[in-house]
């Protein structure tokens, strides 16, 4: 299956009903003041109560089969729900990692006991996960992780340090990637994924504050943490394969396009109220590109729905989409001529400020754009 055989997806009409339900729910949430629209809420918008309300409606863990609390609704239904949540600027960070990657990972590689222990709670919005991948000396080169797992009686002892772990201070579990066999010429071999339930007295979590002072990221120090055999995820030694199988899901979703959409929506509203022709065309340029990016992301969701793991296509989506997220900022900034202000009570200056200050992360998280282009170059046969 190559890059060029990707096909456009027309969403089935029955998903319109789902979309209308989500929209109506969100309109109520926003108008009642229970939630507020903001940019980049899949990183910054942690709201446990909101996640519970989504869980009640069956909008978390949608891809899980019914016996694990889901509705087996598939990748396209999940696409519709997540894009509606992101476009509305809803606070989805609490359940984001669990819904997007930990849950599907458990479903694919977990034991029956693990699935029963976690998936229904994830789907109810009661159990949140963190992803422990990067380390102080390990960023793009994930296979170089130094966190070690040592086999002991009844399980494993993990020692090492994970960084940039979003939400670890509030999550109920973290899936950590660790080296469990000495490094050999095949550097992808000998890695294992572990489910570490939190809190744990031997897991020390410290904030790594963003440049705004916000606390989302953490340093997570594992100090001889005991993980029972029952919390090994998948096969010991198969961690690399398991981690990379999540990439298509992690990199292709609408969150790679829509992090700044709430800002664009506010700018479009201003335009609709008092726009001039020249500014209309500048907003139109962004809107057209967004339309196309959404179709591309949707086409990848179509492949996911069909059971494929379109990692290269996903890399392309993320490279194009995350650069676009910053184009939105510049377009709105130059058009509105508003001074960005985090403390403003008006949405435009505030969203502009939070978008600018979050923007360095767009092209870093989940694989830098340089790495992503490397993935595409490999597919082209030049690497």
């Amino acid at each position: 299956m190559d890059l060029w055989s990707l096909e456009p997806v027309a969403l089935p009409a029955e998903l319109d009903v789902l979309r209308r339900d989500v929209r109506a729910f969100l309109a109520k949430e926003l108008s009642s003041g229970r939630i507020a629209a903001n940019c980049d809420q899949w990183l910054g918008g942690w709201d446990h109560a909101f996640s519970l309300r989504l869980g009640e409606r069956g909008w978390i863990g949608m891809a899980f089969p019914a016996q694990y609390g889901g509705s087996a609704a598939g990748a396209l239904a999940r696409f519709v729900v997540t894009e509606e949540l992101l476009a509305a600027g809803a606070p989805v960070a609490a359940h984001w990692i669990a819904d997007r990657q930990s849950g599907p990972g458990l479903l694919k590689f977990g034991t029956e006991e693990q699935k029963r222990a976690f998936l229904p709670r994830i789907a109810r919005g009661e159990c949140f996960f963190a992803a422990g991948m990067s380390e102080p000396d390990t960023g793009s080169d994930l296979a170089s992780v130094r966190t070690r797992g040592r086999q002991v009686n009844g399980g494993w002892r993990l020692t090492g340090t994970k960084v940039w772990v979003s939400g670890a201070h509030r999550a109920h579990a973290m899936i950590a990637l660790a080296r469990t066999e000495p490094r050999t010429a095949n550097r992808h071999a000998g890695l294992t994924q572990f489910i570490i339930e939190l809190p744990d007295p031997d897991v020390h979590i410290r904030p790594i504050r963003l440049l705004t002072g916000e606390h989302h990221f953490n340093e997570v120090v594992l100090d001889e943490v005991f993980v029972p055999n029952a919390r090994v995820l998948g096969e010991p030694g198969s961690g690399w394969h398991q981690v990379t199988s999540e990439l298509a899901m992690e990199r292709s979703g609408p969150e790679r396009i829509l992090s700044t959409f709430p800002l664009l929506a506010v700018a479009a509203d201003h335009l609709a109220e008092n726009g001039e022709r020249s500014s209309a065309s500048r907003v139109g340029a962004v809107v057209g590109r967004l339309w196309a990016l959404r179709q591309l992301s949707l086409a990848v969701a179509g492949r996911l729905e069909a059971g494929a793991a379109p990692a290269v296509e996903a890399a392309a989506v993320k490279d194009l989409g995350t650069r676009f997220e910053s184009v939105v900022i510049d377009t709105v900034r130059l058009l509105s001529q508003v001074v960005p202000d985090l403390g403003s009570n008006r949405p435009l200056p505030r969203m502009l400020a939070e978008s600018i200050l979050h923007s360095p992360g767009f092209t870093l998280r989940g694989g830098t754009n340089e790495i992503l282009r490397g993935v595409v170059a490999k597919e082209l046969g030049v690497r």
Binding site: L3, W4, L6, E7, P8, V9, A10, D16, R19, R20, E83, A87, F261, L264, A265, A268, D269, L271, A272, E273, G275, R277, S279, A280, S281, R282, V283, G284, A285, V287, G288, R289, L290, W291, A292, L293, R294, Q295, L296, L298, A299, E313, A316, D319, L320, E370, L372, R373, G374, V375, V376, A377, E379, L380, G381, V382, R383
Partner: protein, 352 residues
């Protein structure tokens, strides 16, 4: 893509590969056309793709026509398939008339075109500028005030011109009495309008652009693998790899936009946003892909002898035909305005 369309596209690819060698493409580069390929396409039965069979077309949908156009763009094929099938054929069939055989082209009448009803037919006088492929067309369908006037070769004087790729873009000086049998009114259920015409022309152009860009990328990948500097192929340099990947991303995005827009045109009532976005993105892509393709090729790609020019000159020509980025951005911006407060997301998703 259905198996039938996939097979059709594969046949078109085979014919194009055979008829569009570098000699044939170069022979078209100054106002020529590829008559052999046209004959082959007629035999395959794709020159009237998307025109309903009851009006003399080949049936099929716009998605199928777009898939064929992508291949033709890839091969720099000098044939008026977009004009014949998606424009002239669509106009004529939309009037309930039967499409004539042979290559055709189409245009929207300029405001200064004068018409007057006379006993022998409709008197038509005036000029239409830059009509694609007009010198090779057996008929020119002109959309004038909601009706379709079908001109024959003797109805106008033709002044030859070309675009940046050397494709014919001819000015027509029309002075004719057109009999009623060649003046058609759209059927009650037809979607014919100036706006719809421009949209289809833009979509066809964007499909050709996606194909041309794909070829420019292929040439760049191949060249980067062959050309050695500092003791290794330049493809081994990360800077070059990053350029190639950036090109691939742009091409993939354009291709998906075009195909999704064709799907929208085939299945949805309102495809205006889709079509505008497809041409906008194609225009944005054209500049990036053409400049990176040349950058990777170095000076040799900038010469007359090198085949790259056939793809890049098309990208540069086509991005300004049927509406450039700014024009389609303007259309989209106006849609955003008319959608009103809170309407942007509905506009993007097509769901209210």
């Amino acid at each position: 893509m259905s198996e039938i369309i996939a097979a059709l596209v594969a046949t078109v690819r085979e014919a194009s590969a055979k008829q569009c060698d570098i000699g044939a493409v170069t022979a078209c580069a100054d106002g020529g056309w590829n008559a052999e390929l046209w004959t082959a396409l007629e035999q395959i039965g794709v020159t009237m793709l998307s025109v309903p069979e009851e009006h003399g077309g080949a049936g099929g949908d716009v998605a199928a026509a777009v898939a064929v156009l992508e291949v033709l763009g890839e091969y720099s094929a000098g044939v008026p398939l977009a004009e014949t099938a998606l424009l002239a054929g669509w106009l004529i069939a939309g009037c309930g008339a039967t499409v004539p055989s042979g290559p055709m082209t189409a245009a929207v009448a300029s405001p200064e075109l004068r018409t007057r009803q006379e006993d022998t037919g409709l008197s038509v006088r005036g000029t239409v500028a830059r009509v694609p492929w007009a010198r090779y067309a057996h008929h020119v369908a002109v959309l004038d005030n909601g009706r379709v006037i079908l001109l024959g070769r003797s109805d106008f004087l033709l002044e030859q011109g070309t675009n940046l790729a050397g494709e014919p873009r001819d000015d027509l000086a029309i002075n004719a009495i057109v009999p009623a049998s060649r003046v058609h009114e759209p059927s009650a259920d037809s979607a014919i309008s100036v706006q719809a015409f421009y949209g289809r022309a833009a979509l066809a152009r964007a499909a050709l652009m996606a194909g041309a860009a794909r070829r420019a990328l292929e040439l760049a990948v191949a060249y980067a693998g062959e050309r050695e500097q500092f003791g290794r192929p330049i493809a081994k340099f990360q800077a070059v790899q990053q350029h190639l990947a950036a090109m691939a991303g742009e091409v993939l995005l354009s291709k998906m936009a075009v195909e999704a827009a064709a799907l929208a045109l085939d299945t949805q009532g309102d495809a205006d946003v889709a079509v505008a976005a497809a041409k906008l993105v194609a225009g944005q892509m054209a500049g990036v892909v053409a400049s990176l393709a040349h950058q990777i090729h170095g000076a040799i790609g900038f010469t007359e002898e090198h085949p790259l020019r056939h793809s890049t000159t098309r990208l540069w020509a086509w991005r300004d035909e049927s509406g450039n980025e700014d024009e389609w951005s303007g259309v989209l911006g106006q849609r955003v305005v008319s959608e009103g407060t809170g309407g942007l997301w509905s506009l993007l998703t097509g769901a209210r």
